[in-house]
């Protein structure tokens, strides 16, 4: 349903009221921003010495860009692994072999329940203890392990719910032309489910990207870790963290936009399960396709 149907088109009086409310809201926000700005100013957070490094190439070339590269690398590797593993788990969870289904369910439920951070710390400790991976790659390996295990189980569930939401006629038609259960799953249901769930798979990428920030706990050179080193050098912790936050928001916002765009395209083709986003006008978030999408944009 559309937000537009929740209220009548505002009349002259309502328009005045809305403007007033809007003005007040803006004033309030402006006041808060000003207060924070003023306090920051008092503490010298805007001192040019703290911001000047950002105008020079050193902080970017030696710290932030390598960190960003680490973040993107870990996210890219993890999403690929998670996609593959998640697909396999989904196949297993929907297979007709009972033990396989059972094992896959246990794996999915377990890794969905354990915090990513714990998995990273633990796998890092294990890799160190048993000398798995070369030393330099160990933090990356730990980050990828944690992200892959968690996101694979989420992706498995996304795909499964995508299959569940397909009309049952699809499967039946497949069976009636002589496909086996697994053939129908692989050739008919999965391709449709994955296309339909593409937006929520893309927004899962946002989760992965944000979660790489946990990697600094296992000494992985990602954006936050690099930022910590940078702020030790330039003694400008708050400015560095502000800049890093902006970088994350920009990238993730772009990804969310991509998800919405894909969703719209699919909606035009009549492919989505839940239909087009009725709130398109104000809808900037990614949860417009109904419960399943928002369900899967959880967890950082």
């Amino acid at each position: 349903m559309s937000a537009g149907v929740l209220f009548d088109a505002p009349g002259p009086k309502a328009k005045v009221r809305h403007r007033l409310l809007g003005g007040l809201g803006l004033l309030l926000i402006a006041a808060i921003v000003a207060l924070i700005g003023w306090k920051f100013q008092q503490q010298g957070q805007f001192a040019s010495a703290k911001w000047k490094p950002f105008t020079q190439s050193e902080i970017w070339n030696s710290y932030l860009l390598p960190g960003l590269q680490g973040t993107l690398k870990a996210a890219a590797i993890s999403i690929v692994f998670a996609g593959v593993l998640g697909g396999l788990l989904a196949l297993a969870r929907m297979s007709s072999v009972r033990p396989l289904r059972w094992v896959a369910s246990v794996i999915v439920e377990f890794f969905r329940a354990v915090p990513v951070l714990l998995m990273m710390i633990f796998s890092f400790g294990m890799y160190v203890q048993y000398n798995v991976f070369p030393d330099a790659q160990r933090p990356l390996a730990a980050v990828v392990t944690g992200l892959t295990l968690y996101n694979a189980s989420v992706i498995c569930e996304v795909i499964r719910s995508g299959v569940d939401q397909l009309p049952s006629g699809q499967r039946e038609a497949g069976l009636s032309v002589g496909l086996s259960e697994s053939q129908a799953l692989r050739t008919i249901l999965l391709p449709q489910a994955i296309t339909a769930m593409l937006p929520s798979l893309v927004s899962q990428l946002v989760v992965v990207l944000k979660d790489t920030a946990l990697g600094y706990n296992v000494l992985f050179n990602e954006l936050l870790y690099a930022g910590n080193n940078a702020s030790s050098n330039y003694s400008n912790l708050v400015p560095v963290i502000l800049v890093i936050a902006v970088i994350y928001i920009v990238i993730n916002y772009a990804l969310t936009k991509l998800a919405v765009w894909i969703e719209r395209r699919l909606a035009r083709r009549g492919r989505t399960v839940a239909g087009p986003d009725a709130m398109a006008g104000g809808g900037l978030g990614g949860s417009a396709t109904g419960p399943d999408l928002s369900k899967n944009t959880q967890a950082a």
Partner: protein, 221 residues
Amino acid sequence: MSTLFDQFDVWGAFWMTIKLTVLAAVFSLVIGTVVAIMRLSPVPVLRFLGTSYVNVFRNTPLTLIVFFSLIGLWQTLGIELSAQLSVNAFRFAVIGLSVYHAAFVCEALRSGVNTIPLGQAEAARSIGLTFGQSLREIILPQAFRGAITPLGNTLIALAKNTTVVVTIGVAETAYLMSKVNEDAADQLTNVFILSAVFFVVLTIPIGLLTGRLSKKLAVKR
């Protein structure tokens, strides 16, 4: 295993995780509902603010938000929530967690609203209910019911995300793990298994419960 319990405050860490989860759940539900109402409201500025809220907080890593709630509010604005610093850090951790998850609660509620047929809102309007009335009487009650599953998922995510507040020194489960890693690395496997079991025990019932609730409370159409 027993040395683990002698040497470290395992139960204290678990209890801290539970406290963080429950408090942040309550606050994020409240904030999230307010933001969702803003996003649905007829006032364009409020809609814009609601949307910006979600875009900013959903796209920033939780670590940064938690850290900033302490640095921004405590260090910069001078708001102190307790003279006892460990309690102070705990309360700011709750704020950071709440603010972050409120963005997800808002989106869950919006998806709950999306499940309500158009006719409901039209009927409400045609009998003369104002925006506030139709929201209170018609839309939100149904939206909450429709949003139980995504809300449950947010709650599960929240329970797990409490591990992030180790960054400001709150003594919860991840803090316990990093301390064990430092002081008694041979116990790492034990403490991981223990923590994993703890989180499984904590989160799986939430999933089952919300699953059952959402079936039971589903609006018959």
